[in-house]
């Protein structure tokens, strides 16, 4: 089959169309939506790191610099090892303050829009060559496949296709919401596709060209120079510089930052990425050396090594097409995510400075974001046309990677160095960007500077190596950053922000509106009433909140959604101002408190007041919290977790570090639904739920209370594992039922004996006269009597069954259950009569077995207390929305001094050996678990009255 442009273009369009379709399905369907929230999908989505550089460029890189190409992935592996102490704090910061890009982090920490703009500008300039690389690789690949020379027209066609894809999906996902499952799932599918494409192509080359692993080994043994050429460069000067550069790129490239932190679906995702991302990169790189050796042997002279992948499978158009589609897939994903990330930076920091006001941005943001996404892609296209064709894919890609290394000093300062100042970061960035432009970027455009003397000054002997340019510019940047930071002072805002960055878990810079009205007023004061109402309406729809919010959790959900949506369009600083009022970030009460606390700590730690009462009390409280035998979780006024104590860690298997500082709704199931349900209930509410946590079922009893504060209000959730307790209760209840059956035994014998005697007599008569005329009638008697026995036996079996679902309430007809219980109790009535008044038959919330047990207990007690011929009255009634069942007897009653103890376990007024003393105690437990009550009162006319109160069923 001869490939032509139409077929290739059609297949590329189909592939990208499928991605768009898939992302819509995942976004709309709750079932498929899970794919986008899965931590493995997230790790695969981080595979957006592998672009056409990996698909095509790595083979070209291997051809010129051997295994130095592995440095591009070893750096990422090293970066993934650093996830717990480097990525995790960034993730916490991004989550906590809803930051959308690395420029947001800089602007937030150093309290400077100028710095945000500088970072954005540098990133746009640095990333454009990389976008150009993608367009070039795809266009050149298509040209090779159809046997033409690469042309700018061809490049334009594919550039337009990739731009259309990026704009279509980009606008869909640039709507201010983090954690978009559709985007993560699309990137995960895309990563899988390019992995499979490269593995299939590599596998085919291994067997078709080399004949398998053994033959490949023999081939290499015969050509030791090939192995030496590929292995030796690793010991050269470039290796370490490349590892360093890619260490930074793994999480600082705007697209990596966007996926790794902004789109992170949950606290555990990063941990999985520690090993899953390197494993993915390992797998996708396995075929690279094989493809290089094959391409080297098969390529005609003059063919660029960047397209060896296509050359290696030149005999198979299908495999060539697969490799090409892999490249289209990789390029499209890279351009999509990069354009979303860059357009956010441009929109927040560059355009507002020179263009429309934030108010008008709010009204026209969709058009604006579309324009910026298109603008970014078109700029990449222009670079693609401008760059000389002699530059390899690696040169273009590395230029971008080197640019992002200049974000590392400022980021480390934000996370770990409180002394870092905005002047220091800005000065460092200027030096870094200038040196990058001179040493790294300008050679791409054919402007070569003679820097050999400069390199020689610092001991670098090989100006062609990649190391000198990287180390020199980075070192200059780092020195200027530190020097200027030490020489300048931080503003009060910077100090507070530095505290917030170092302790995002406990410091809050937010002043949350305390009511829906104040939120609307605040937003109105900035953007006008019409826009404020529109924005709130859209946020409320997205957050599934009806206006006005009915309680504080709903208000907080709305605020979070609203701030996120605004943040994406006008930046986090402005968004915070709009929602919370005041200056963007101001001296905050909690930050001040934290600092005071720390100073207090350090004073105590130095000696004199080490054992002060305040310090001792703090230590005592801290120890108490960690050693409490029940789980404690507290959330602040912004619904973010502050405390997740040791017992809750044990119960849930979730680490405190993964939960604290994150929004409550990020806590994995079943904890978030449990807390959310409680959060909508008043203080003191208790709920019990049974969950399957994988290691077995667990029964939890949880209650909540609000924590009142001056300006903010949080909540505490206390969780008890009542699995063992409930098992014990069920065991005791079962014993009690068996005990009741023992009590009923003589009655049972009597009740069964009577019909059995009848059956025996009728059967004997039939045996002597089988042909009697009334044989059918006699057989009917036998059947009736046998059914009576069967009914009695069934009642006993049901009664003695162990109830395994104690908390499973259902609406039951009370009269029917009372009637059944009375039938059982009549088996042993000691001559008493049971009078039923069941005229009121309202459904109530209970379990039928549990309620039967309670009623049998009460009726047995009543009949035992009565003298022969007395009557036990059972009556149902409805009062204040509850269903009540009264059990009255005409016995002597309970002496007043003992009446308070009737529900105590093992308390009985019966003679020794006649009762366990558990009946009433167990009965009350059962009724209370139904959400009802059991109480005793003496009757006016003598005797006792036990009243069961149950919740009425409301349909």
């Amino acid at each position: 089959m001869q490939l032509n442009h139409f077929i290739l273009f059609f297949l590329a369009v189909t592939l990208l169309g499928l991605y768009i379709l898939g992302s819509e399905v995942v976004e709309r369907s709750p079932r498929w939506g899970r794919l986008g929230r899965n931590r493995f999908s997230y790790a695969l989505a981080l595979g957006v790191y592998a672009t056409t550089w990996t698909l095509f460029g790595s083979v070209g890189f291997a051809a010129t610099e051997g295994y130095d190409f592995l440095a591009i992935y070893f750096g990422v592996t090293l970066s993934c090892i650093a996830i717990p102490f480097l990525w995790a704090p960034v993730a916490e910061l991004v989550d906590r303050y809803r930051l959308g890009s690395i420029a947001d982090v800089f602007a937030f920490r150093y309290q400077s829009r100028t710095l945000g703009a500088a970072v954005s500008l540098f990133m746009v300039a640095g990333l454009l060559p990389y976008i150009a690389l993608q367009l070039r690789a795809v266009a050149d690949g298509a040209a090779i496949l159809v046997g033409e020379e690469p042309s700018e027209e061809l490049g334009s066609v594919y550039a337009l296709l990739l731009s259309a894809f990026a704009v279509t999906l980009g606008v869909r996902y640039a709507d201010g919401r983090a954690h978009r499952p559709g985007l993560i799932a699309t990137l995960a599918f895309e990563s899988l596709f390019k992995l499979i494409a490269l593995l299939v192509v590599g596998g085919a080359v291994l067997f078709a060209v080399f004949g398998g692993f053994r033959d490949l080994n023999e081939y290499l043994q015969a050509r030791p120079d090939l192995v030496e050429n590929i292995v030796n460069p690793v010991m050269g000067d470039s290796w370490i510089a490349l590892v360093f550069v890619t260490f930074c790129a793994a999480f600082l490239l705007p697209r990596q930052f966007f996926v790794a932190f902004v789109q992170r679906p949950g606290p555990r995702s990063l941990k999985t990425a520690r090993w899953a991302l390197p494993l993915y990169l390992f797998a996708i790189n396995l075929p690279v050396p094989i493809l290089y050796w094959a391409g080297r042997d098969l390529a005609a002279p003059g063919v660029r090594p960047d397209v060896y992948v296509l050359v290696a499978v030149q005999s198979s158009p299908a495999l060539q097409t697969l490799a090409f589609l892999g490249a289209v897939s990789a390029a499209s994903a890279m351009i999509l995510v990069s354009s979303i990330a860059l357009s956010g930076m441009v929109a927040n920091y560059l355009v507002p400075r020179f263009g429309p006001s934030p108010e008008s941005l709010l009204t026209r943001w969709a058009v604006f974001r579309r324009s910026t996404i298109v603008g970014v892609v078109v700029a990449g296209l222009l670079i693609h046309f401008t760059l000389p064709r002699t530059r390899s894919l690696v040169d273009l890609g590395l230029a971008s990677f080197v640019a992002v290394t200049h974000l590392l000093p400022g980021l480390l300062g934000a996370l770990f160095w409180r002394r870092a100042t905005r002047a220091g970061v800005l000065a460092g960035l200027v030096v870094g960007a200038s040196s990058w432009a001179l040493l790294t970027a300008s050679p791409l455009f054919g402007v070569e500077l003679d820097v050999s003397r400069l390199y020689a000054l610092f001991g670098f002997t090989d100006p062609a190596a990649r190391g000198p340019a990287i180390w020199l510019s980075f070192t200059a940047h780092a020195f200027v950053f530190m020097g200027v930071s030490l020489l300048t002072e931080r503003s009060p805002e910077e100090r507070n922000a530095a505290e917030a960055c170092r302790e995002p878990r406990v410091t809050r810079l937010l002043q949350v509106p305390d009511s829906a009205e104040s939120l609307q007023e605040r937003l109105t004061s900035y953007v006008g009433k019409r826009i404020a109402i529109e924005e709130i309406y859209q946020a409320a729809t997205a957050a599934d909140v009806y206006w006005p919010p009915r309680d504080r959790p709903e208000l907080l959900r709305l605020i979070t959604e609203l701030e996120g949506r605004l943040s994406e369009r006008i930046g986090p600083l402005a968004a915070r101002t709009y929602v919370q009022g005041g200056r963007p970030v101001r001296a905050d009460a909690l930050a001040e408190r934290l600092r005071a606390f720390r100073e207090l700590d350090s004073r105590y730690a130095t000696g004199s007041q080490r054992n002060s009462p305040a310090q001792a009390a703090r230590r005592y409280l801290s120890q108490l919290m960690s050693e409490l035998p029940m789980g404690v979780c507290t959330v602040d006024d912004h619904e973010e977790v502050v405390i997740w104590n040791a017992q809750l860690e044990r119960m849930s298997g979730l680490d405190e570090d993964d939960i604290c500082g994150h929004p409550m709704h990020d806590i994995p199931d079943p904890w978030w639904p449990l807390f959310d349900e409680l959060a909508h209930q008043p203080t003191g509410s208790v709920i019990e739920r049974e969950y399957d946590l994988g290691d077995g079922k667990i029964e939890l009893r949880a209650q909540t209370a609000t924590i009142p504060g001056q300006s903010e209000e949080g909540r505490v959730f206390v969780v008890e594992d009542v699995t063992a307790l409930r098992q014990l209760e069920r065991h005791v209840a079962h014993k009690d039922r068996l005990s009741s059956i023992g009590t009923l035994a003589s009655g049972v014998a009597h009740e069964v004996g009577n019909p059995l005697t009848g059956i025996l007599m009728v059967a004997k008569n039939l045996a002597t006269d089988p042909g009697a005329a009334d044989a059918a009638e006699r057989l009917g008697i036998i059947v009736d009597e046998a059914q009576r026995i069967h009914g009695i036996v069934q009642s006993l079996l049901t009664f003695s069954r162990r109830d395994e679902t104690p908390v499973g309430l259902q609406a039951i007809p009370v009269a029917g259950v009372v009637r059944n219980a009375a039938e059982l109790a009549k088996l042993e009535t000691d001559g008493c009569r049971i009078d039923l008044d069941l005229s009121v038959d309202a459904p109530a919330m209970a379990s039928p077995d549990g309620l039967t047990q309670v009623l049998v207990n009460l009726l047995n007690n009543a009949t035992q207390a009565c003298s022969s011929g007395a009557t036990v009255y059972v009556r149902t009634r409805v009062e204040n929305g509850s269903v009540l069942i009264d059990v009255d007897d005409e016995g002597p009653g309970i002496p007043e001094e003992l009446s308070a103890r009737v529900f105590e376990p093992f308390f009985t007024t019966k003679a020794h050996g006649q009762g366990t003393g558990l009946g009433l105690s167990v009965s009350r437990q059962i009724v209370e678990r139904f959400g009802g009550s059991l109480r005793y009162e003496p009757r006016q006319s003598g005797g006792s009255r036990f009243t069961i109160t149950l919740q009425a069923y409301e349909n």
Binding site: Y67, F74, I81, I230, W239
Partner: protein
């Protein structure tokens, strides 16, 4: 710094020595040994991740 971070830092230091110092000559013996070393490193990280998770 919690226990997980301490472990990660230790592993990071070891990895730096193995990757970015002349010690790397050890895993550069054959054409496939860099891949074997890489896979081994991933396995260790996965193992530590598992241990951290279990703890």
């Amino acid at each position: 710094m919690n226990r997980e971070q301490e472990r990660a830092l230790l592993l990071f230091a070891v990895a730096i020595v193995l990757i970015a110092t002349p010690v790397r000559a050890v895993w550069l013996q054959t054409w496939w040994s860099p891949f074997a070393f890489w896979l081994g490193m991933i396995a260790v990280v996965a193992l530590i991740h598992r241990t951290d998770h279990a703890a």
